[in-house]
């Protein structure tokens, strides 16, 4: 196999990594700020994909993605205010995990009842057409857009977290909740914001895939476990760690599948995680404060 093939696998890895990065960053934000392992992340990603499935034919690609992000962010706030915040404080960690699991069961099976189990695809004319040629490497436009959206979104997330007071406050809550209280940060407000961000990111991840893949209620099941693994490898709660590992895993899977079989591709991430856990149980980019 030649260089073109390597480049093509590399490009696939970047596309794959971009989807993972959006999901993993959302999961890491929610975990870091709220100390909640969000089992419903896959279900919310699926909802995002369905939202885009309904929005994009009406509004076009870019506005459809924005609308999806906004809708999902609002849903995040509703979930935080309506459910997560109301958990009794004792043993909140494992309870929040189980609560989101219940939520995932409701959303996913509700989607099957509502929309049927079968796959749906956007009509041909609502999808980004054509493809890019980078040298000999062919990248369908829809897939290139995934990378564009991911890079833009993650860049904005970086600026938000590092250059704004509210972003600093979010990092503050995740690094030292007590200190955050002491300087006067309202945990409720930051909690809402974290859920809005996390769920919004999951929604964007789902939305970008809608024009490329088929949309079905089951689409969130397998991917959520993979994203958990990514976040664990990255160091629970570390957003940059999650993003870096997401791209690493995208590459890993692409090459494992390209030079091995589809099966090596699907287990590579879990083997990677087990290996990392043996060497560095706190994850690659652990923030020490947490975990």
């Amino acid at each position: 196999m030649d260089a073109t093939y390597t480049w093509e696998l590399l490009a696939n890895g970047v596309v794959l990594g971009s989807s993972y990065a959006l999901l993993a960053a959302g999961l890491a934000v929610i975990f870091g700020v709220l100390n909640v392992v969000n089992f419903a992340h896959g279900a919310l990603y699926m909802l995002g994909a369905f939202a885009a499935y309904f929005f994009i034919p009406l509004t076009g690609y870019w506005i459809g993605i924005l609308l999806t992000a906004a809708t999902m962010a609002i849903l995040g706030i509703v979930l935080q205010e309506g459910l997560l915040r109301r958990l009794p404080p004792d043993g909140a960690f494992s309870r929040s995990m189980l609560l989101t699991l219940g939520l995932a069961m409701i959303i996913q099976n509700g989607a099957i009842v509502l929309w049927g189990a079968g796959p749906r695809q956007l009509p041909e004319d609502s999808r980004p057409q054509g493809h890019l040629l980078l040298g000999d490497v062919i990248i369908p436009t829809g897939r290139a857009f995934i990378v564009v959206v991911a890079v833009a979104t993650l860049g904005a997330l970086y600026l938000l977290l590092n250059r704004t007071q509210v972003g600093r406050a979010m990092r503050g809550v995740s690094q030292n909740p007590t200190a955050a209280l002491v300087v006067g940060i309202s945990p409720e407000r930051i909690g809402r914001l974290a859920m809005a961000l996390g769920v919004g990111l999951a929604g964007i991840a789902g939305a970008t895939l809608t024009p490329v893949f088929t949309v079905s209620p089951q689409m969130g099941i397998t991917i959520v476990f993979k994203v958990f693994a990514i976040v664990v490898i990255g160091g629970l709660g570390s957003v940059p760690g999650a993003v870096i590992v997401a791209y690493l895993v995208g590459m890993l899977e692409s090459f494992a599948g390209g030079y091995g079989s589809a099966m090596t591709q699907s287990i590579s991430v879990f083997l990677f995680m087990i290996a990392i856990m043996l060497v560095r149980p706190q994850g690659l980019f652990s923030t020490e404060v947490r975990v």
Binding site: L9, G118, P119, V212, F213, T214, Q218, G257
Partner: protein, 386 residues
């Protein structure tokens, strides 16, 4: 405290008893005859199961309209979901036999489930008509293989694979084939059978990939096929994944014909019409295009009820009921054991124009068809007796 424990224990006993009281005793000589269907109605293969159920229901409705069986006894359908996994499958078949007292079971679409259900048919002595599972192992175990209660009316993967590779060999323009199969019994046995059949004809297999059901990203495989000299991709994937793959192949400009078990209909056909898939072919035991009067009637009735042409699964479900109805009439009884004896002597003309007649391994040999896309339309290239 003691009283509370006792109360809880009593409640436990009562709930179970409460269930038990809802049983009704079966009557085998009058009243409706119940046909059981175990099919995936949830999970990744749900759409296929739905198609099969539609076919079964259509056949039952037609028979009931024509006055029923055994002197106007109506047929009723008891359908259970098996989610395409053996564990649920065994549960569904157990429920059909022990609780719903069916006269025969049609099942179970997914090969893995059928294989798991077969011992139950034997244990409870209720005939199991296999209509859509393609694993060769089913034939090996049935009839002379020891399981007298299992009958299969659809051809096994081995025969289909031989038919397809003969065609590819004869057509002559494809010498390197990659196999993409779903990670299920269907995918694995299908891929193994095709690999062997292709090798026998001197066609190179460039690789076999098994992807998890529900996989959405095929970009790695597509890149691989583009770069390792593959001339055609043989698919053994079903439902949502099938469509996903074709769409991604189209937008990534893979420009290779597909073959294997491809349903050249519906949304698939919309994509495959494109020139880049020119020369795509498929082997199927059924096509709605088959030109027999019986099939035309069936296809018309089905289309008016469901707004789409019948699929392979609908056809096989329909056939299974017809074969069973034929056996029940000849047995003059709805007793499962009597039906089994009658099934052995089946000689029934199928919608395809072929004959359903069980061999020593309880395998029927209906026709199968090689289909191809020509000028954006599916055409039947040839038919073979399996």
């Amino acid at each position: 405290m003691r009283t509370r424990t006792l109360a809880a224990a009593a409640a436990l006993a009562l709930t179970v008893v409460g269930c038990a009281s809802s049983t009704d005793s079966p009557d085998t000589n009058s009243g409706p005859i119940t046909i059981g269907l175990s099919a995936p109605l949830s999970g990744p293969a749900a759409a296929l199961g739905e198609n099969e159920r539609n076919g079964v229901q259509l056949a039952i409705d037609q028979i009931n309209q024509d006055g029923g069986l055994l002197g106007s006894r109506k047929l009723t359908l008891a359908a259970q979901d098996n989610a395409c996994n053996p564990t649920d499958g065994v549960g569904s078949v157990t429920k059909l036999i022990t609780q719903q007292q069916v006269s025969a079971v049609i099942g179970a679409l997914c090969s893995g489930v059928t294989l798991a259900a077969m011992p139950l048919a034997k244990r409870y002595q209720v005939p199991l008509v296999v209509a859509t599972s393609t694993s060769p192992d089913i034939t090996t175990a049935a009839g002379k293989g020891g399981n007298d209660f299992t009958f299969r009316i659809n051809p096994s993967d081995a025969t289909l694979a031989v038919a397809l590779s003969s065609y590819l060999h004869k057509a002559g323009d494809v010498r390197k084939v990659a196999i993409l199969a779903e990670d299920s019994t269907y995918g694995r046995t299908g891929a193994a059978a095709l690999q062997k059949a292709l090798n026998d004809k001197g066609i190179t297999v460039t690789g076999v990939d098994f992807v998890a059901q529900g996989t959405s990203d095929f970009s790695t495989q597509i890149s691989k096929y583009r770069n390792n000299g593959t001339q055609s991709v043989a698919l053994y994937i079903s439902g949502a994944d099938h469509l996903s793959f074709l769409r991604q192949a189209a937008s990534a400009r893979l420009q290779l014909p597909v073959t294997g078990r491809v349903e050249l209909e519906g949304q698939n056909l919309e994509i495959l019409k494109d020139e880049q898939f020119a020369g795509s072919s498929s082997v199927y035991p059924y096509s709605s295009l088959i030109k027999t009067p019986a099939n035309a009637k069936f296809a018309k009735a089905y289309e008016s009820a469901h707004k789409t042409p019948p699929t392979y699964e609908s056809f096989e479900g329909y056939s299974a009921v017809m074969v069973l109805a034929d056996a029940i009439s000849r047995a003059k009884s709805s007793d499962p054991k009597a039906i089994q004896k009658a099934l052995v002597k089946t000689d029934f003309t199928s919608l395809t124009g072929g004959t359903v007649k069980f061999d020593a391994y309880h395998q029927a040999h209906d026709k199968a068809f090689i289909l191809q896309i020509k000028n954006g339309k599916t055409v039947i290239v040839s038919d073979v007796v399996t």
